[in-house]
Amino acid sequence: MKTGARTLIEALQREGVDTIFGYPGGVVLPIYDELYDSSIRHILVRHEQAAAHAADGYARASGRVGVCLATSGPGACNLVTGIATAYMDSIPIVALTGQVPTGLLGNDAFQESDITGITMPVTKHNYLVKDVADLDRVVQEAFYIARTGRPGPVLVDLPKDVTTSPAKSGGTVPETVSLRGYQPTYEGHVRQIDKALDLIARAERPLIYAGGGVVLSGASAELLEFMETAAIPVTTTLMGLGAIPGDHPLCLGMLGMHGTQSANYAVTECDLLLAIGVRFDDRVTGRIETFAPNAAVVHIDIDPAEIGKNKKVDVPIVGDVKAVLQAFLRRMKKRGDTANWVSKINTWKAQYPLGYCDDGRLRPQYVVEQLSDILKGEGIIVSEVGQNQMWTALYYCFKKPRTWITSGGLGTMGYGLPAAIGAHYARPDMPVVDVAGDGSIQMNIQEFGTVAQYDIPVKVVILNNMYLGMVRQWQELFYDRRYSYTELPPVDFVKIANAYGIEGLKVEEKDGVRGAIETALATDGPFVLDFRVEREENVFPMVPAGAAINEMIGVRQR
């Protein structure tokens, strides 16, 4: 007899799902029984949070929808942080959860939780399937909603009786999804596009501020062609790193709280800001009143609600970044004269390079630089959250989209290791490195178990400062060095790795860094590197909270 569970698996196969990250439990037994001899690969994580992050990492690395699966109640609740992480960064995942049988819904039944209610604020949409006849349609809609428009997570809650009951021959599955309440706009408005092009032709100091939307839209080639054709410098957000090559002469690196000096100065002095696939997050803008104070603003985004949300916009363009940039390229007749501006920016770049104290000690920035130098952009870099994340963003040279995977919007510690697992399954051809902090790695360190079980060749680079470093940095700078509960006792991460059957190396000298990274990368399986770095190193430059982004501290000048 074909059951709801079988229907589900077939619907997932129709969506092209090849991998599910999950964790079993009572009410999902029927689904697990179907998975047992299904062609879909299931990766057993050690905590449901990791299943959600792995699905997210899979989606970011591949551009396809990631899938996770958990049981009802505690299993579903454990997914929540991962779903919220995906939501904040607009990542397409479908989360499948078991639920108590429909007859028990609302009864406080064993392992019942109202997961559609709980996740309403952190999903793009969610479903509670009450009738097996709806299953095909719901799964199809869920994937469609997750990947189209502004992508995002969708949760599908599946009561046990729905997965056990006989499938209803609901007829054929429709070719296309049509939802009268959901019709994203892909093509930009031609009149608005021409207005923007007119501003571009007249601007003397134009700047492109590019974000995660460029990566999500797959618009890197278009952005590169446009910036080169129009000779406009580009700064990217944390989420936009890799959208264009970091070593491109027109690339200014990251802007914002830990942005480069040249990027933040350029924003402050530009007369035209082309905001592409961004959302003017407070970590980017600093004090919003002083953000790009001299600029006319063109904002391109697929989500109309982002336009004008934080910053007044002169030319709003609602549409898919790729489609709009293609229209820009087609319709552009004249470019502005930006030579003076570009040379000014080059002066800044030369005058204010990133840098740190090079006194022979083992500094975290050096580790990231070496990693960058060895991989040359040919790898996927995942990060945890904190100083490790910012140093990676600043000192690793990203060259291609989808090679940088980090929790930007939610800033979820513990994201990196499971996301790296997901990235590996999306791109088994690429080396995957998780740059971690000693605090963050301990938030999902149980995933060493998953890595070991499936021999996933993820390399974990721990920048071990024995602190919750980013919080300590704020305490040092703004709380009189009162290190309240931010010191972490030393942990022997190599021993932990070994206990799971994973190789590892502890590195305490600068001299050992390069060789250790090469050893890890040359090893077939997973590898853990524990770098004992300078403990009180800070991430600079930094814009203090509430300041304008050109008011940076910890700046350097050559």
């Binding site: 309403m120 604020p121 309440g181």
Partner: protein
Amino acid sequence: MKQHTLSVLVENRAGVLSRVAGMFSRRGFNIESLAVGTCEEPNMSRITIVVNGDDGVVEQMMKQTNKLIDVIKVSDLTARESVKRELALIKVAAETGAARAEILQIADIFRALVVDVGAKTLVLQVTGDTGKIDALETLLRQYGIKELVRTGKIALLRGAKTVKSSK
């Protein structure tokens, strides 16, 4: 800050009201009143929401509402010709004959209906725009309002225009 009346056409599905209301509270948008019920289309409901806010804030409210998958159409009726009505039931103390007579007179002027007569109370039903109901409430306060319930405002465009087309 200005008062806006939003007409929201939604899929008639479980949870849709909590999606809309939850989004408003999550984003810190204040709802003055909210009325929901079925409408001319069998699978849709219409929610009328009255909110206060600057134009920019109301624009955000509308865009965020529109983003919900179950929302089909959002319109701001404020600046457009529309009929707006609210219904209230007011239980007012009427212990003496004199009070009773006065209340009935007031009710008459407001075209309120007396829908229940008790030994010590009257229940009036009044419809109208918000201002009219406020005025009646103020007048009746001197007699002692025991209980009062309002439906929240509902509204429709005047003439042949409708709030229907897909978003």
